[in-house]
């Protein structure tokens, strides 16, 4: 891990449910672009953010086919951040809470996502310069 500052974020909402998740991911992306190392601990429904089987869809109300709709997928955002952080040499770790994964059958994640426990969260937070929880309301 480089010597730049490190930020740990806890996400809790499932994908497609809360604008706070989108905002939090924008914060993570901005931090990475500034060379800040970032850890994400996905808790509860947030473990589905990097679920590999998310698929885009058409939208008849919009009159769009799949390509025109260009539906955003959180797994693509996460994968993009993993790739860009790797290219920039910035540390970016995404850990999914293992028990949360099991109860949701969400084990099939994109590459680069690791299974972990609250002990991992504690270690990451302790080693970070700052941390933020974005909890389900």
């Amino acid at each position: 891990m480089s010597k730049s500052k490190t930020f740990t974020v806890v996400l809790m909402d499932a994908p497609f449910e809360s604008s706070r998740t989108t905002t939090a991911l924008r914060v993570v992306d901005a931090a990475l672009k500034r060379g800040i190392n970032v850890n994400v601990f996905a808790y509860e429904g947030a473990v589905l953010l990097p679920f590999k089987h998310q698929q885009p869809h058409a939208n008849a109300v919009h009159g769009h086919d799949v390509e025109q709709e260009d539906h955003p997928l959180p797994r693509e955002w996460v994968a993009g951040m993993i790739a860009s952080a790797k290219d920039a040499g910035t540390a970016f770790e995404w850990i999914n809470c293992g028990l949360c994964v099991d109860e949701r059958g969400a084990g099939e994640c994109i590459d680069g996502v690791r299974r972990g426990t609250p002990a991992d969260l504690w270690k990451m937070a302790t080693a970070s310069d700052n941390s933020l929880v974005v909890a389900t309301a």
Binding site: V10, T117, P118, A119, W122, S131, V133, A135, T136, A137
Partner: protein
């Protein structure tokens, strides 16, 4: 490093999860070595009230008999060296009798929260 978890959302998904997930993760983090306390506010101030229970819930013919015991989670947490703070104003506005709380919890006034929070290195509001 001292850590405080603030729980505001009471009984969030407790039937599905069989516990309050933030109290649960606080237990798990403490078991991993964290020095961690809890602050209960809003609807979560009901957790330390003694005598509460959950009857088995049946949905679609499937009976869930292993009910959540949020009060037991708090009792276990505060009984193992960690502090549990409860915001007094949130008890009063809900008409919760302070005498029915676990004796080990610390009832605090909202005006005292800045001083309490300043004693922690990490404060997470769930």
């Amino acid at each position: 490093m001292k850590h405080l978890n603030i729980v505001s959302s009471g009984y969030r998904a407790t039937l599905e999860e069989q516990d309050d997930t933030i109290v649960w993760i606080s237990h798990a983090m403490r078991n991993a070595g964290a020095e961690i306390d809890l602050l209960l506010q809003d609807a979560a101030v009901n957790y330390p009230v003694q005598g509460q229970s959950v009857d088995p819930v049946t949905i679609g013919g499937r009976a869930q008999r292993s009910a959540p015991d949020v009060h037991g989670q708090i009792r276990s947490f505060v009984g193992n060296g960690s502090a549990v703070y409860v915001v007094g104003e949130d008890l009063d506005e809900r008409g919760i009798d302070r005498r029915k709380l676990l004796q080990e919890v610390k009832i605090v006034a909202r005006k005292d929260l800045p001083k309490i929070l300043s004693g922690y290195d990490r404060v997470w509001h769930w």
